[in-house]
Symmetry: C2
Subunit: 349 residues, 2 copies
Amino acid sequence: MSTRRATISDVAREAGVSPSTASVVFSGKTPVSDATRRRVLDAAAALGYTGPDPRAASLRRGRSGIVGVVFEEHLRTAFLDPVKTLMMDGLADAVAPLGAGLLLLRDQEPTGSGPSLTTAPLDAAVLIGCSGLLRESLDAVRARGIPVVVIEGDAGDDVPRIGLDNREAQRQAASHLRTLGHRDVAIVALPARAGWERGWLGDGTAITIDVTRERLAGALDVFPDAPAYAAAGSFIDEGLLAGRELFADPARRPTAVIAQSDLLAAGVIRAAEEAGLRVPEDVSVTGFDGIVVDGLAPYELTTLVQPATEKGRAAGAAVAAMIDGGVAASISFTCTFHEGNTTGPAPAP
Amino acid sequence: MSTRRATISDVAREAGVSPSTASVVFSGKTPVSDATRRRVLDAAAALGYTGPDPRAASLRRGRSGIVGVVFEEHLRTAFLDPVKTLMMDGLADAVAPLGAGLLLLRDQEPTGSGPSLTTAPLDAAVLIGCSGLLRESLDAVRARGIPVVVIEGDAGDDVPRIGLDNREAQRQAASHLRTLGHRDVAIVALPARAGWERGWLGDGTAITIDVTRERLAGALDVFPDAPAYAAAGSFIDEGLLAGRELFADPARRPTAVIAQSDLLAAGVIRAAEEAGLRVPEDVSVTGFDGIVVDGLAPYELTTLVQPATEKGRAAGAAVAAMIDGGVAASISFTCTFHEGNTTGPAPAP
DNA sequence: TTGTATGCGTTATCAT
DNA sequence: ATGATAACGCATACAA
């Protein structure tokens, strides 16, 4: 058992064929006679050879079958977001036909430890919500000719981008509310920037997170004077805190709340219940994302359903195309408005 | 630009040093004079060389820096479980010092497509809740000498296992309830087996999921006659359905419910509220896992806190040890009982 | 501190 | 259908 592991050459010798023939038996790239295949397979079994070493194969082929997925946050944080999870699923689907898998990469990895964009054997990379912190490694990767795609972010002009019509979609929700007669509307926004600790968004507040800014713009297109309170993250509990803030002063209660995510919306609904308000009779609430919020029944959010899995799939298709030497264009996906039971006519004044 | 990518030999030649010297400049394995380093780095910059090719390096080194994580379900399903997410985080932490990253692998990958335990360039593999479906690939992997560790599952005797004292822990929660005077207790269990569709667990029901069986045993140790209703998954909505079932008949309402997960417990609480029962005055509820359930405030579950991140970290440490040629022992982690505000004295009859 | 030599295990190409 | 040959790009043992 202390002897070195068998290689394909050992198998070939044992089977009395050439290494290239043995290789072909395992790869199936070329027809092989049944008899030969048998002999090779038997030899392999005899030697305990379980197939080509992926490391050697990937060197020779120039492909590793690995697509890196870069998050800018802790994994635990990333996967708390149902939309990201769905995207991962779509991504996994789309790269599977390539024979590729997903390697989890964290931006901000403590230097030196851990794999990075530059040290991992990647065939391609997908950046999720790239903030710009990793621009340098990004350049290195692109210099190496590794295809890169960005989801919900901006990594420079020539990096294909998978996006969403955030502004337009949010405008639809707002219009829906206006049609229902709402005039006093408040917005519960996603964080304004990394490290943001909940609070009102003033005129001068710099919003560096694209999604937040775009959805906000869409809401303001319809309700230019709507006040906006930005949460510290996309969680029910954060929506609850924001909602309490909105409903604190009975005199200035909005009749409708535009939340920038379904989880925030769920929290706002809780806050409304707490304040003795009925949804949608006293206050209407809209969400964004179109995920299924566990535990929210019997409410069914009025929301914008974003094709999260499709986004992941598109990103996968894009890197697949690029790996095959093609080019991939940026794509913008469209949300679908879904009317649930959390919005209704504005209450009489 | 159409020329082939520069290699470390090109860089060495350009810098007027030997390939090995250039290699050392990038790996840092051996001291190099400042002047030489400069020359090499400059040459690299001039040629657009961005560092050693990870594929070649991994063949030479015999290591890829990749640890496979195998799930038996869709990624979307796996990451819905907060415990798994935390484990992933711990795992990522623990393998980072190895310079390794996590490759997501799905069990049941449609044959032929996608990377598998056998085709991916893995240094080690971690199986999560291994059901036994992938026993064959597992054998192949182990034959190849790749270290394997299992979390919450069983892959055979000589595969180290990271476990939890499920039975003992659940017994603690049950004892707590008995101490509080509860006698009519019901159990809301996790699924009995893959594909299970909620329902009462009868005497003859085969329970193939270890966690479910062990936690159930712990509860029955204290309340041998407690009826158990198994949900279709660990979700708030599933707990709600189970709870409705339990509280349907006022005459046979339990005074306490032992839920096998925090999410189920949250759902049971919702069901209790629905039925007009106060928690914990009318009915006590215990959970399991010790995660933070978003949106459950002001309730704070009485639950068993499992060291989820630690489990992941331990799995990582185990594979790290095995990669370095050592051996890793199985470990069983212990839950910590946490008393929240969802349990109280049994109501007077 | 630097250079020389070798092989890691495969697979693509081309010829047979 | 099969075989001979030549890379793939690097890191290490060892010598200088």
